[in-house]
Amino acid sequence: MIDDTNAKRWLTGVLLGPTTVWFLFMLVLPLVVVAIFSFGMRSPEGGYVASFTFDQYFNLPSRLAAFKNTLSYAPLGTLASLLIAYPLAYYLAIKVNQKWKLLLLVLVIVPFWTSLLIRTYAWIFLLGGKGIPSLLEFIGIEGVRLINTPFAVIVGIIYGYLPLMVFPIYISLEKLDKRLLEAAADLGCAPARSFFQITLPLSMPGMATGCMLVFILLMGEFLIPAFLGGGKVFFIGNALVDLFLQSRNWPFGSAVAITLVIIMLVTVSLYMRLAMGKSTGQDESLM
């Protein structure tokens, strides 16, 4: 009997071993090293000098523009995605008949699993001089510039992350007990009122999950501003690529990265409170 439980323990250990090693060496250790670097100094040749100083953090204002852009475009992009995604999720969950539902849902998710690089590239093409602007010229509207503008970045964001927003909202609307809406209608409640008093509040967890997912991914975005923002709109991600791969200031880059992680952690914990308070949620984040 004792041997049996020991054998089981041993087996569990073996089964979890590789995963544990991976989590420790590819997740925990790297984050710890970055945290240590962020308190270090940069040597004149560009390397890292061990030390314990907050200099790198005090230097953060030199990249203020990147933080400002990220912290304004990320919420804006999240909101825009939410506004576009909600009616679609509502339609898919409540209006579409069962036969088409699955196909339509899959068609929303599929683009998310294909290359963001290629999908963003498509917009360079569409928004560039020979794309939509030339079509506009054809119908008489001239001099429209779309690429390398804030508008282009927002379009890219919505395009890239819409599927991620639709899915959790769809799930929370799908779970909604339709009898509630029928009861409201029987009691003489107008459709608009039952939407605002029943449907909308009950789909809150889905909206919260979608917003959190999109917001977090946007905080680390690099490609969309790099391709569509043309150097005018740059995010923390673009600053990080510059600091780590071009100007090679790793200690300062580490401080920027750690600050980014902290902003994300705060977001997630705010979300947890919100979603936990509403009881459901959480697992919806997983596709």
Binding site: P18, T19, L31, F125, Y159
Partner: protein, 278 residues
């Protein structure tokens, strides 16, 4: 009616850009944006470009290795996690969620900094203990670092998929097998594995897709190697050519085929009889 139009418009928004890329990849003209006629010459050009073929090979090797590692390690972990209790379980769950949620750029940076630091520490030691005359190995960023970094995310993905499958599994078969004195290994091989296999395969395909499409992690940790997305990124930086459209179309096609297969596998596995029959 308005809802229907709206939905239609959103689907157009989602698919027109992809369609444009595909259409222009068949453009016979020399410029990316003037459509002149149908031709597959840019595909020929792309496939005979040695840099692009090198990058493609690198991407395929990395994606296959990451997917294989993830499916094996992820399945092992999912099997173990269904039986452990106590403080270890929430700790693992936390790690799984963090590794899925954390943006690629953070993983890329952290892996880059950590690996370079570890290599800088190990390389002189290796050189000093290496026998005189022989060239000591020099650890550096490359295939291995990209595979390891991708596997962090994809392994967690496999754990979630397989765990969901285990949760929906028919327990009575396992109990019946045990009643009939099957050894744990026999029970696993004949009962559990066939039931969870579609989920493992779907996990493999999704992992492959993720790794094959990833740009940002590879950008940081690939060292001097180019994966296909890195190659495409630098081509786009140099200017848009029809060749990029052809490569893009091929990349989209690869992910689409893998995705559809994964979807079919995940659907199929909801029917118990079909899963047991495999």
């Amino acid at each position: 009616m308005t809802m229907r139009l709206y939905t239609f418009a959103v689907y157009l928004f989602l698919y027109v850009p992809i369609g444009i890329i595909v259409l222009f990849s068949f453009n016979s003209g020399r410029h990316a944006s003037d459509f002149q006629g149908l031709s597959v010459k840019w595909y020929g050009k792309a496939l005979s470009n040695p840099f692009m073929m090198d990058a493609l090979t690198t991407s395929l090797i990395i994606a296959f290795s990451a997917a294989l590692l993830s499916s094996i390690m992820g399945t092992m972990a999912a099997l173990a996690l269904q039986r452990i209790r106590g403080p270890l379980k929430p700790l693992f769950d936390g790690m799984i969620y963090v590794s899925i949620m954390i943006p690629g750029i953070v993983i890329g940076i952290a892996t880059l900094v950590a690996l370079v630091t570890v290599f800088d520490f190990l390389n002189p030691i290796l050189a000093s203990v290496w026998p005189e005359g022989a060239n000591p190995p020099k650890l550096s960023l490359g295939y291995m670092s990209v595979i390891a970094a991708h596997t962090l995310f994809t392994m967690s993905l496999v754990i979630l998929l397989v765990r969901a499958r285990i949760a929906g599994m028919d327990r009575s078969l396992i109990e019946a097998a045990q009643d009939l004195y099957a050894t744990p290994w026999q029970t696993f091989r004949l009962i559990t594995l066939p039931q969870i296999f579609p989920a493992i395969l779907a996990g493999f395909l999704l992992s492959f897709t993720f790794s094959f499409d990833d740009f940002i992690i590879s950008f940081f940790v690939a060292g001097t190697n180019s994966t296909l997305p890195i190659y495409v990124f630098s081509s786009i930086r140099r200017g848009i050519t029809p060749e990029v459209n052809a490569i893009g179309t091929m990349v989209l096609a690869v992910s689409l085929i893998l995705l559809v297969t994964a979807q079919i596998l995940l659907r199929k596995n909801t029917g118990k009889s079909s899963a047991a029959a495999e």
